[in-house]
């Protein structure tokens, strides 16, 4: 579709996310009723995200930077649709493939091959479609000899490789990377970065969360910096990374 205007992949509009912080965790009925009767159900509000707005155009690679607790993971969860924002709206056009940390979508008793289809279905892909991608996945993950072994016997590196291979093989429109590139050995890191770079050419949109500014500079072309649930800086990856580096060096 020829068009001069870049298409919007993700539009985040005035998104706020509020959590009730219980002073104590209540997860059984007895405690709940005791607290309810004695009126000790105190909640304090915590705004993990506060009026966040930004847009990511198709083909852009957005880095999300921020110190621990800045709201990065919450932002990703809201974008993925795992959490509904308390206020504001998110519009996503295209298929999102989140990279689950170390094969969280796998069933450990299932073999690697069977997990390919299970993981694919979790993202909404059919068996037939996954079958057509199966050879690519096998080749990239380099676990051909172990593909019929239950995943519980895999090393964490093998799981990470398989998970990464599946999430990238399905050619999603939007790829969400949550510090996954920091797992695995150097060889796998280089290979996976190359794979992602390769996907850029196909116009994939990437959201990348990391503390590693070098990686963000290499992968992303835009970045935002979060602090206490607010966007404090927004711009090209280099600009924002410089700001982030000065913040972290100060502390």
């Amino acid at each position: 579709m020829p068009s001069n205007k870049p298409k919007t992949a993700i539009a985040v509009k005035n998104v706020s996310m509020m959590f009730n912080l219980n002073n104590e965790k209540i997860d059984n009925i007895k405690e709940y009723f005791i607290k309810l009767v004695t009126r000790k159900l105190h909640f304090s509000e915590f705004w993990a995200l506060n009026d966040i707005s930004f847009t990511v155009h198709k083909g852009e690679r957005l880095g999300v930077l921020g110190l621990n607790g800045a709201g990065k993971s919450t932002l990703l969860k809201v974008i993925c649709g795992v959490m509904k924002p308390t206020r504001g709206s998110i519009t996503v056009s295209g298929v999102i493939a989140p990279l689950l940390e170390l094969g969280a979508g796998f069933d450990s008793n299932y073999s690697g091959k069977e997990n390919v289809f299970l993981y694919g279905a979790t993202m909404g892909y059919s068996r037939k479609f996954m079958q057509s991608k199966y050879d690519d996945i096998l080749a990239f993950s380099e676990i051909k000899d172990f593909i019929d072994v239950p995943v519980k016997n895999y090393s964490s590196g093998m799981k990470a490789r398989l998970g990464f291979a599946i999430a990238t093989a399905v050619e999603p429109d939007i790829l969400i990377l949550d510090e996954v590139l920091s797992v695995g050995d150097a060889k796998f890191r280089i290979k996976s970065e190359a794979k992602i770079k390769n996907m850029f050419d196909k116009g994939i949109t990437v959201i990348f969360v990391s503390h590693n500014t070098d990686q963000v500079r290499r992968i992303c072309n835009k970045a935002i910096l979060l602090e206490k649930g607010k966007i404090v800086a927004q711009g090209t990856a280099d600009e924002v990374c410089d700001i982030y580096d000065t913040i972290t060096n100060k502390k």
Binding site: D27, K77, V82, L100, N109, E114, A121, G124, Y125
Partner: protein, 277 residues
């Protein structure tokens, strides 16, 4: 509005079938006899129950026709109910790692667990067929095949609806209150004894236990929807007669109400799951 949900379900139908496939395949994967346990397990437990209760409740004069078949009918249905609802109850908390990271329609998890238990249940029905064939060929019990046996699928379907409703409710509850998992274990044990599985309701002579001329205990047992469903199933399989229509309307109504409550509770609470998982 409605279209949106249907479209979403259509997109994730593969997830439903993959989880069903996974559960069925994994159930007996590490056991030596494998899938054979689907037949063996109900057969052996029925033999145990026949040995324990056969003398007291197995008298054919009480109208049980054939005690092993009578028992097996009740046990198979009860076992499906308790297994599927328990699996559904654990399904959301058990899939926390996925639910926390990816968007998936969450009802897929309880639903797929109930359907996979339903698949193994349907396979285990062959043990009933085999046992009936045995008794008809080698003994002279008054069992006979009739077109009613096809109608046995109706109570099975009503039971499936009931399980979906109860499973949805339990899966929501277990996210917020872990205690429900222990409570429900006790409840299913109670249900096993409250449902006429190894006894016939009239054998207990509960109509003599009255409060103000009202056989309250018997009515309580009859209010159990499993009683109606099991009775309908036995009418078709064991007695070859049409069921009592009260059972049909009561159990169907009960199941539909449970489903409505389950869907409503799930829809209301599903966005909060993530905060508790």
């Amino acid at each position: 509005m409605k279209n949106k949900y249907l479209r979403n379900f259509y997109k994730y139908r593969f997830l439903l079938s993959e989880i069903v496939r996974k559960n069925v395949r994994l159930q007996y994967r590490d056991s030596v006899l494998g899938m054979f346990w689907t037949f063996l397990q109900p057969l052996l437990t029925t033999i145990v129950l026949v040995l324990v209760f056969g003398r007291v409740f197995g008298k054919s004069s009480d109208g049980v026709v054939n005690y092993p078949i009578y028992l097996l009918c009740g046990r198979l249905l009860y076992e499906f109910y308790s297994q599927s609802t328990k699996r559904a109850m654990h399904s959301i908390t058990g899939s926390a790692s996925v639910i926390k990271k990816v968007y998936v329609p969450k009802y897929i998890y309880p639903l797929s667990n109930i359907i996979s238990t339903f698949v193994t249940f349907m396979i285990s029905l062959t043990v009933l067929v085999a046992m009936m064939a045995y008794f008809m060929l080698f003994t002279d019990t008054p069992l006979h095949l009739s077109p009613y046996i096809l109608l046995a699928l109706v109570p099975v379907f009503i039971l499936l609806l009931l399980c979906i409703g109860v499973g949805l409710i339990l899966s929501v509850l277990s996210v917020f209150f872990k205690d429900i998992e222990y409570l429900y274990d006790v409840f299913t044990l109670l249900l096993f004894y409250m449902t006429p599985i190894f006894y016939k309701l009239n054998q207990l002579h509960l109509d003599k236990v009255t409060v103000g001329g009202f056989p309250i205990v018997e009515y309580m047992l009859m209010a159990n929807p499993l009683y109606s469903i099991v009775s309908m199933f036995r009418s078709c399989v064991l007695y070859s007669v049409m069921w009592n229509w009260h059972w049909f309307f009561y159990s169907l109504g009960f199941s539909l109400v449970t489903i409505i409550i389950g869907v409503w509770a799930f829809y209301k609470k599903q966005d909060k799951f993530i905060l508790y998982l």
